[in-house]
Amino acid sequence: MNIAKSLQRLRALIYKETVQILRDRRTLILFFALPLVELFLFAYAVSLTVTHLPTAVVDQSLDTRSRNFIQALENSGNFDVTAVYQNEQQVRQAIDAGAVKVGLIIPPNFERQVLRGEGSVLILLDGSDSFSVQSAYNAALSITQKYSLDLTTEKVQGGGASTALNALEGHLPITTTTRVLYNPDLTDLIFILPGLIALIMQIIVVTNSALAIVRERESGTLEQLLATPARPAEMVIAKLIPGMLVAILDMVMILAIGVFWFKVPFEGDILLLGGLSILFIISGMGLGLVISAIARSQRQAQQLTTVIQLLAMLLTGFLYPRTTMPVWTQIIGNFLPMTYFVRIIRGIMTKGVGLTFLWSDSLTLLVYATIALAIAAAILKKRLD
């Protein structure tokens, strides 16, 4: 009897929420248009592998060896010579101005020094841009090592040294084969897309629900709702369901675009991802509702969601690796459902693993969703008294 009544009230509340969502057409359009815009922009914009770094060259030798070396750097695809200068000073100025990211300075008499075995070059890197620097550093180091080895073996052979070395012909005794699992070509989109879906979904879901309760409070309709026999838990659930449907539609849409348009491979079980996504959406909405129940005004709710978005972007493992973070910032990340979902969606989409590997993250999401909803309802109840 009680349950029947509760269901009836719930239906009425859900009806109210649905009508409210449908009436505000412009917001509804934004719900669907924004994820699309974000997905397309990022998918096309983000390039993680930095190649073709603009490079300035000062060649004070202008002999065969120096030209060879510059050629070796260019052939690697990591460096594009875009400027030629006379001295180091000019290169530094170009890096100051941001015109180039890398400077290569070859001192005079390069060929002679190399033959004597004491050649050296100076490579300047723009240390204000971390992506470029790290790529450039590794590439430059590796190319110089190789080039240097080639020179040595060539010279040793020329000097008529041992025949065993001749057999080397400049190739190394150990061949390192690197195989990148799940993403053999290091395609940026395969890295980015699953995490991006998680990020976009969390944004929609949290911002959406964060205003839900506080808006009613600001416009005074909360009082009217409280005057009805509806209980806090029912109000929370009613707020949840229509928003959840919108979010699920969003999820299906961006996932479909990711797989069919951007051709990101989907290795795992789509139904498993579907189920866990719903869990993730509910957790996110729970978090939003907690914010909404705490906030005094829409403004505060908005400030809080902005913070959560930044935290989500930087601490959940979407962009920056969590393994290198100190424990306390990892713990902060643990308060966001996205942390668990990034692992889940990468696991299912990219690695193709199943629940056997993902059970702990899935369980955590389930617990998270329950606790968040309970807290939201509890706060609302406390506000009543």
């Binding site: 390039s47 040595t152 084969t177 403004r299 100190p326």
Partner: protein
């Protein structure tokens, strides 16, 4: 006109002051974020959890693994009998890198055709990138050392050769130790300020509209442009306070050196927060309710963060995407912040960005006024 603007400023101030909780949140949030992110973000991935499948177990394989571990980039967390179980370890997420050394490693080195297989977890970008690069370089270094040793043994040393023939001195300008914090902090200040200034004004006009107080303002002789300027000024002060505290924490707490002119930086920060607040006002004027304003603000925030050059380098982006990035003030301020704080360069090099910001402010204030006025009719 000045008088009317002053009146609006006073109103905004007392409104902000009355809501102390929000004010406190606004002033402390960027600080907290800076501290959290300052500690959290480390793009130099070291100590990557590694699983090793050493099927040789001879002296050479151990020496090779030692070279890997001593580099500091790889931490052996598990051993596996073969490649399949190493992959399983990576599937489970226990390790991000697997090193597989096939049998007879030592013998094969002597024959000059030894193989090592490095497995890298390709689902995490930074880790796989670092692992890939460092495994290659360290492996190569190790192999080259063997070659040089052989050459030395063969008596090349006697002919007066020193090895290796070529050394590269790599100087990382401005940040010789490649400290992530030095990379991150200036851009992060730009990012936090962009977020903050957008959030401050995105709700400013639309809230008055929702509350109905906009009608009251409209019946006064105040003109739209005066309203816009009046709304921005108090927030410029708040945002400048934010900027100063963020930079102070970066310099004094995190020890990031400030190379350039502080006054130039402050002056340009002023232009920057002004343009961000202006953009927020445009959002506020086009939106019908706070919910829309917030959705739009989130979009602008995300897009500006990812396209503004703070996280990903802009020169790798396609031209169209770069143009979209040009719509946000952060795109102009990231080079300014990095230029002044990290590089220590002056106005002459940055004049392009400065002019862009000035034009930006004029255009954005004009847009905010126009959209607001259109709404009036």
């Amino acid at each position: 006109m000045i008088q009317r603007i002053l009146a609006i400023i006073q109103k905004e101030f007392s409104q902000a002051w009355r809501d102390r909780t929000t004010l406190a949140i606004i002033l402390t949030i960027p600080l907290l974020q800076l501290i959290i992110f300052g500690y959290a973000i480390n793009t130099n991935v070291t100590h990557i959890p590694t699983v090793v499948a050493d099927q040789s177990l001879d002296q050479a394989s151990r020496a090779y693994l030692d070279a890997m571990v001593n580099s500091g980039y790889f931490d052996v967390v598990a051993t596996a009998p073969d490649q399949a179980s190493a992959i399983r370890n990576i599937d489970e997420g226990q390790a991000h890198v697997g090193i597989v050394i096939p049998p007879d490693f030592e013998k094969n080195i002597l024959r000059g055709d030894a193989q090592v297989l490095i497995l890298v977890d390709g689902s995490d970008y930074f880790t796989s990138q670092s692992a890939n690069a460092f495994a290659t370089i360290i492996g190569q270094e190790y192999a080259i050392r063997i070659v040089y040793a052989e050459i030395a043994q063969a008596g090349a040393q006697a002919s007066g050769t020193s090895l290796p023939a070529l050394n590269a001195l790599i100087h990382v300008l401005y940040n010789p130790d490649m400290k992530t914090l030095w990379f991150i902090i200036p851009g992060m200040a730009a990012m936090l300020l962009q977020t903050q200034s957008l959030a401050l004004t995105a709700a400013a006009v639309v809230r008055e509209r929702e509350m109905g107080t906009i009608e009251q303002i409209l019946v006064t002789p105040i003109r739209p442009i005066e309203l816009m300027v009046g709304k921005i000024v108090p927030y410029v002060i708040i945002a400048m306070l934010n900027m100063l505290t963020v930079i102070a924490i970066g310099v004094f707490w995190f020890g990031v050196p400030f190379q350039g002119s502080f006054w130039l930086f402050s002056g340009l920060s002023f232009l920057y927060v002004f343009s961000g607040l202006g953009l927020g006002l445009v959002i506020s004027s086009v939106s019908q309710n706070q919910r829309q304003a917030q959705q739009l603000m989130m979009l602008f925030m995300m897009v500006s963060l990812l396209l503004g050059g703070f996280i990903f380098p802009r020169y790798t982006m396609p031209a169209v995407v770069r143009l979209v990035g040009n719509l946000f003030p952060i795109t102009y301020f990231v080079p300014i912040a990095r230029g002044i704080v990290t590089k220590g360069i002056g106005f002459s090099v940055l004049s392009g960005q400065v002019i862009a910001l000035v034009i930006y402010i004029v255009v954005v204030m004009f847009l905010a006024t126009i959209t607001f006025r259109k709404r009036l009719d």
